[in-house]
Symmetry: C3
Subunit: 366 residues, 3 copies
């Protein structure tokens, strides 16, 4: 081995070693918790939406029926009723068609399927563009405007677009709704089971990022107001909102200090240029004198998706050994770099080589 | 290089090397299967619950209706009907309100909204605390007890708490229910597709951890009896149960030997101090003479969440090379440690240094 | 240090170094993108199925009712209506029992519960094998064939198997259905939010692996035709199909160039020997003159499960440093291997040792 009393190289060597040690100690071990074993939580959420809204009903003039302002409670807007696996839905805008039954009826004016008696336009058996049914081949007066003739269709009649009432939730009432989230997570590697509800939880609280970040009850208004989006469009077209619950737990401390951080993301807004919002159709079916009837609803609303992320860490000697080991490994790099400089870069590299290398001559010959 | 015939140091050196080699060979390569490439399975489960229960109905005296003991089949307690994405629900306790319709009616006594003719208590247009509807401003005799006056509300009437029947499943019948789980998983890195149902599967079996751990049919009683929880409370309030299917497969052997291990966890019990159980409201809607009616049910029950975990491994030469490489890397540590001791710690370190180091004098000068 | 002018060993040394450098540079850094930090996407999909089908109805002779060919629109086959969390269902085959109500009725002939007046076969209170209800203990004439006597049961009557109509979707109509998938994913480590719908997306397109792989609208026929399975059985029994969306994104380039790759897998087919397909039971409930009625449907169909996979990468200097570091680390191995050969294997190892080792004698004594 050769001691090189060359301050600059020596310094370099020490500096590199220092950097590596610092990196190992501070970053890998301390900051990245290299001494801990980690596991992601697995769990499930149960949610409950509370609130009541008065709903504004628009009915087309030609449609019979004594509609007025109606009331929606949880059961009316919470469809499907049961929170699915970490998701729930709040209906904000419904287009309802009552008393539909399997029959033949004129197509809706919206579909613009105008015809005249001897036209061959409504091809019998062909599905309608709206996929509401099949053409019967007949041409009949429109239900909405008797003076116009349109293709007749076979399917569930009357057709939605020709006989539906429009229900719109009140934004102010909606913003007053509360969402209660009850989550259980398990870190089975550590055999730890946590809930966001604790004995000390106060059920009259409202979640606030700073003031009350452990409260499991969220005001819907607080959630949607924080998005930079067109809220009337969101209510009208519907949207998808993600509620991320991040459980970052250090089980070397008291596990009961670990609470989730909540983040809200608007995944699907109501004012996108292409295919905004979210909607679907559902039906309630019933029978009268042996005939099937259904109440058809086209439902726009807010779909909430709950995700559980984060991870929990606990001290593990093996992990620590590995972390330090990798650090020591890196220190070798320091030596290699300096040697390389001394032997190939440094101006007095020849002397260094001379001092360091001794030739085993007789090996040359063979 | 200096040969140090110092048994203690030499021993230390060998011991460290031995430990590292053993650790690499035994732990990393053999125990942790360092020679295998791993992937977690991705899949989905289809479940089917079978069983019938007689149900005990409690009806408040003031309520008309010829109730009796009724029968629940799969369709009655399995709501929502379709197993969702890896979850299903069994209703155990329902509170049913029949013939609700949009109207005005007295609030339930439970809400304690007593008033007298000239009280200003029921603020018109304000939502009720129960969020069942809005106050009309009127004060009317209670439906449950004509001698008492309560605030009138507008919403779906009669209000649930004032006119509902209570349905409770029979615990014994419930424990006899069977749950059939059919799972398909894919390890697409290895292009392997597995099911828990095989050609030899016997459908008259019942799962038992030891006696029949491959049976895909589970007795509900077996699952809930193993939890240390208050079962009557669980049935009454509802709860959340996780069924974990752990697929640990070694594809270096016959893949058909790989079956899931099942673990059951009670994520949400019925006797927690705060917010026990799980419940939700649902409605069946129908129309009579142009009026909407609904059957409202508040449903308590057991929510089952199915999770698919584990991983499959297969031999991969690259993985093996990396595992061994990391091992060799660590052996460097042995050298470093011993050198460090000899040069800085050991009592005869000076002699060692002298022997090991030669000074390149003329470099000093520059 | 000893310079060994032995070409073979020197060559070996260089070769090993070269391999390791190449491996590091090409495989770890370049191919495996060792310079990038990665994250898996998290997101959710909203789907919409469009299409209408004429449905063939088979009614048992003894059953009253003026059935005919009926029409199913989205609401009829899309149950449950709302896409669940990344899954949806298309009913293809339904067995419907109308006007069921809680009562006592003869069991279905299919269950073969024949009896005679003084038989003790139908044990009162015992659940029926079909779990449709409980035995009343009576023996009554069958509903399907008055000349036969069967056990009477208490439950929802008439029993499904004794009074149901069979609805079968038309395969051709089904193959014409379109599935629209709208997905939003987030890589929150990079704060990137992507959708598969872009401003330039054309909604009249149909997905094709090569011709139009960015189109979000899928023809159901294209999906099921690619499976090597018995399609009539799939329609009749039902099945489970996975739609995997793989987002592999390189955010060092323009993120808008990143689109998902779609893969379709048949997880559960209709012609497996054991427990083929997928089906479940659902009911629509309604009331007439204070009695509960229900429409019971046993539904077979195609369950689609959507999964989001892949990962996004972005340049990260720390990652690069680590990748190179690990590479340098491995080069040490080269040295170790060669030294080992020279000192223990090579025929002129003694000379080498002599040249390399100097004995610190006086250490021996202590």
């Amino acid at each position: 081995m050769v001691e090189v009393p060359n301050s600059s190289i020596a310094l370099l060597h020490r500096v590199i070693q220092l950097i590596i040690c610092a990196y190992t100690a501070l970053y890998i071990v301390w900051y990245e918790k290299g001494y801990q074993e980690f596991q992601e939580p697995r769990g499930t959420s149960v949610t409950k939406v509370k609130g009541v809204s008065s709903v504004n009903v628009k009915v087309p003039s030609f449609l019979a029926g004594n509609y007025s302002r109606v009331v929606w409670d949880t059961t009316e807007y919470g469809i499907p009723p049961l929170v699915e696996n970490n998701a729930f839905f709040i209906a904000t805008h419904q287009i309802v068609t009552n008393d539909q039954t399997e029959a033949a009826c004129p197509s809706a004016l919206k579909s613009k399927l105008y015809c005249d008696a001897n036209s061959t336009k409504c091809k019998i058996g062909k599905p309608t563009p709206s996929t509401a049914g099949f053409f019967t081949g007949n041409c009949v007066p429109s239900r909405e405007n008797k003076t116009l003739n349109v293709c007749e269709i076979r399917g569930w009649c009357p057709e939605e677009m020709s006989a539906s009432a429009d229900y719109q939730i009140s934004i102010n009432d909606l913003k007053g709704f509360t969402i209660f989230i009850k989550t259980s997570v398990t870190f089975n590697k550590f055999n730890i089971h946590l809930r966001n509800i604790r004995d000390e939880t106060n059920f009259s609280c409202r979640y606030h990022k700073i003031k009350d970040s452990r409260c499991p009850i969220f005001l819907l208004g607080d959630i949607i107001d924080q998005f930079e989006t067109n809220i009337p469009a969101l209510i009208d077209e519907g949207g998808v909102i993600e509620i991320e619950q991040k459980w970052t737990c250090n089980f070397d401390y008291n596990k009961n200090l670990c609470f989730p951080d909540y983040t809200f993301r608007l995944l699907q807004s109501g004012d996108e240029k292409q295919s905004p919002g979210i909607n679907y159709r559902m039906a309630h079916k019933y029978r009268l004198n042996g005939t099937n009837y259904r109440i058809l609803s086209k439902v726009h609303g807010l779909r909430f998706v709950l995700s559980i992320t984060g991870n929990g860490g606990k001290f593990n000697p093996l992990q620590l050994f590995l972390a330090i080991g990798s650090g020591i490994g890196y220190t070798v790099i320091a030596g290699l770099v300096c040697d390389f400089i001394m032997m190939h870069v440094h101006k007095s590299r020849d002397k260094y080589r001379a001092g360091k290398v001794s030739l085993v001559n007789d090996i040359v010959l063979q």
